[in-house]
Amino acid sequence: MRSVRALASVLLAGVATTALTSCSLVGGGDEEETANGSPGKVVLVTHESFALPEEVLDRFEEESGFRLEVRSAGDAGSLTNRLVLTKDRPIGDVVFGIDNTFASRAVDEGVLADTDVERPAGAAAYDLEPRSDTADDLVPVDTGHVCVNVDDTWFEREGVEPPRTLADLTEPAYRDLTVVPGATTSSPGLAFLLATIAEEGEDWPAYWERLLANGAKLVDGWSDAYQVDFTQGGAKGDRPIVVSYDSSPAFTLDGEGGTTTSALLDTCVRQVEYAGLLAGAANPDGGTALLEFLLSPEVQRALPDSMYVFPVRDDVDLPTDWARFAEQPEAAYDVDPAEIAANRDDWLREWSDVTSR
């Protein structure tokens, strides 16, 4: 009896092992990859929020003849730093997703090669400051604004007038109502910090002290702030004011032809995401083709639904919900990229000190 059971166990283990081996990565024998250098392949290095519909990506492979490989990890900052550390032996051909807060570091460190990709209609408005020494290192691909969002239904129900400006957030009427993602741990958080610096100038630490004294809640990232603490997020939290994007109202439709939230257009700061050819890329031709593709009407049209950002081309149509509910500000806070480059690390350190006191 005992030996029968032992035998059965051994057999079972054997069968299980065989079955599992067949589905292991090694055993499965996926197509063997050669290193970066194989001619037909173009490698896109990007951040973790990159997404495009499969048929759009397939179209690139069909039209250009190159096989596309996507490597995504971390946020815009982590992406930039990975490229800086590996610039002697780049990990791909093209980068997408360096934003205006990290662009200067990538350019100064010589991560990028010159390109002569033609800008489509409207894109030139988002170029980095004209630079004399480098030609066109970074090509703008998409844009959006980080704005304070409010839950209109909450304010209507409570009979409170919603805030309008950054200064309003420190008013007693809005005590314990705001939630903000951290500047050191999230890119909308950093953008919001830049907005406060643009508004308050040198006195921005004092503004943050007032903001926190007024009960503003600080959390790790956007998903924590919006999904958990915001009253219109997935978990239906209890704070009706949140730092998010100008496109967010297009995702909170009430099913009756309206939206339940709105972005405060006087609190916005602009974010632009860039793409570029990496210096030392194994496949510069494929890289250039990919850059041109990122600016093509097809990709630009897919951006809102896939990555929740606005296209830089002004000749493509927005999705219906976006056209109605994702209102872009007329004017936004703007911080000079050179100033960001010079001060970013000091600002972040000082911000950490002010907020963890």
Binding site: V84, I91, V219, Q227, S244, F251
Partner: protein
């Protein structure tokens, strides 16, 4: 001399693997800090160590991890007893369920905890959100399974006769526990506690999510310094602090778990019926179950809500890419996860077995013993070093032939195997060490060769704990996030990576799908663990 050489020869394989995939990358990153512009400049690193912020960060890491470790052990011990020595109904299911938190991605657990503790949650009145109490609770939630499982396995194999003898001589239950049982379990408890401490000290998501950014640990600080500020000098300084602290901890643990004679008479006693006097342990186990279940229930409930109605829509959506938020559907990611876990498991088992054999053979000279104990500690190191340092290190060191491995599909399973390796080693070592060497000598004198001795003496004792270790390694691989998120290719994303992306997408479905995917991951893990238990493993292993 020849023995020492043979020892080193056998250890060569695992040492090489760890050398290439751990020492080289970490050394590469630390070197960037010490040689900022190609010139050796240790002054910058030393200056960082003198910053007051560094001291605060190190102190917070130490005390929060220590408290979380103590809490995990205190919560885990009664449950280890009740679930391994008492004939409780459904105890196999409960044991499998307790391991579920171990594999859940921190980002999801963070959200679940905050839904529970947050201002709008059912426990919001306690005001714990964003406090160190929440961080400690989160850390204990993740790690209590390690204590239950490993100490429980040791308890199960403990000979009950000494305790019975003590009781017969008039000792009270408390006296028996203090003078007989706990001393016998000390090696297992110390090992489990040291593993838990390492997991706590390097946990990243829990501190950020539950601490509301007001608390920085060494791990979060290295992340900030490396990925955001690119201050490699400061990151190197903290990495060195991490390594020194871990080495000290491992040395201390090795000393604490040493017992005069590791050889133990192992016998698996049948779990006995529950008596009335067992109520404290059973109550404590139920309490633990409630504590672990509360965040999980929040997850399940959340995953079944679409809009304001109950629905399975989130689960059906797992076959899609979530309105374009993902490049591969969650179902495909689950297949990738399972395949990767298979690879990581066999790698961890193979390496772990060799390491265990090497470190447990009886030493003849003090020098030999020292080599063995250094090797033992060496393979624990990957648990204690920041995933960010390791990930960036991979990119800058494994970038040229013959080690051009940055694109290799094996990088992810290898990284996961390194995380699982200490779990495997710590499960098998006590069992191998417990075999009386005279049995091997007897086999040899009867004419058995080395392999034959291994097959007739070691294997029968070790193969069952080996299966248990396999289950643990499999679970650890399924849940690994830090290194995987950094190294996995987009078309080979694993479930935790996909969950992270879903929860960060503003689409209406993202949040619900992330919760549903977490429930699927949790269920998969529980099923795998139950299957391992079904193989009737009277787990003799212990940490």
């Amino acid at each position: 001399m020849r023995r020492t050489l043979a020892l080193l020869g056998l250890a060569l394989g695992p040492v090489l693997v760890l050398g290439v995939f751990f020492v080289l990358p970490v050394a590469g990153m630390v070197a960037r800090g010490f040689w900022p512009d190609g010139a050796f400049d240790p002054g910058g690193v030393l200056e960082v160590l003198a910053r007051p912020r560094t001291g605060r960060v190190v102190w917070f890491t130490l005390w929060s991890s220590a408290v979380a470790t103590v809490v995990s052990v205190l919560l885990g011990l009664p449950a280890a007893y009740a679930l391994h020595r008492l004939d409780l109904p459904l105890r196999r299911v409960v044991r499998a369920a307790l391991l579920v938190p171990f594999v859940l991605p921190t980002v999801v657990v963070g959200v679940a905890f905050r839904e529970l503790l947050g201002e709008a949650g059912p426990l919001g009145g306690l005001g714990l959100d964003g406090t160190p109490v929440a961080i400690v609770a989160g850390l204990a939630f993740f790690n209590v399974a390690v204590v239950v499982r490993s100490v429980g396995a040791a308890w199960e194999g403990l000979d009950p006769r000494p305790a019975e003898a003590a009781a017969a001589l008039g000792a009270s239950p408390a006296q028996v526990l203090r003078t007989v049982t706990l001393p016998a379990l000390r090696p297992a408890i110390v090992s489990a506690a040291s593993v838990v401490f390492l997991f706590c000290a390097t946990s990243f998501g829990v501190v950020l999510t539950l601490g509301g950014l007001r608390y920085a640990s060494v791990e979060t600080e290295i992340y900030l310094l490396t990925t955001n500020l690119l201050d490699l000098q400061a990151a190197a300084a903290l990495s060195v602090v991490q390594l020194v602290a871990i080495t000290a901890l491992l040395a201390l643990a090795a000393r604490l778990r040493t017992v005069p004679d590791p050889a133990v008479a192992r016998r698996t006693s049948r779990p006995r019926a529950v008596r009335r006097s067992d109520w404290p342990q059973v109550t404590a186990t139920l309490l633990l179950l409630v504590l672990v279940a509360a965040p999980l229930v929040t997850l399940v409930v959340g995953s079944l809500r679409v809009g304001d109605a109950w629905s399975l829509g989130n689960y059906r959506a797992l076959q899609t890419t979530g309105e374009g938020a993902l490049l591969v559907p969650v179902t495909e990611a689950l297949v990738t996860s399972l395949r990767t876990a298979v690879d990581a498991t066999w790698m961890a088992l193979l390496l772990g077995l060799v390491v265990a054999v090497v470190v447990t053979r009886r030493s003849r000279t003090p020098g030999e013993r020292r080599v063995r104990s250094v090797l033992d500690g060496f393979f624990m190191l990957p648990l204690g070093v920041s995933a960010v340092t390791l990930g960036f290190g991979f990119l800058i060191t494994l970038d040229r032939p013959p080690l051009d491995l940055r694109d290799s599909a094996l990088l992810v399973p290898v990284a996961q195997a390194l995380v699982a390796l200490p779990l495997v080693v710590r499960t098998i070592v006590p069992v191998l060490a417990g075999i009386d060497d005279r049995q091997r000598q007897a086999a040899a004198s009867l004419g058995a060769g080395g392999l034959r001795t291994l097959a007739t003496v070691d294997l029968p004792v070790v193969w069952r704990p080996l299966l248990a270790a396999a289950g643990f390694a499999f679970a650890a691989s399924l849940g690994e996030f830090g290194a995987t998120a950094f190294l996995a290719r987009e078309d080979r994303a694993t479930v935790p990576v996909v969950i992270f992306r879903l929860i960060g997408s503003p689409g209406a479905m993202g949040y619900g799908m992330a919760l549903a995917a977490s429930v699927v991951l949790a269920t998969t893990t529980a099923v795998v663990m139950l299957a391992v238990e079904r193989l009737r493993v009277p787990s003799l292993g212990a940490f």
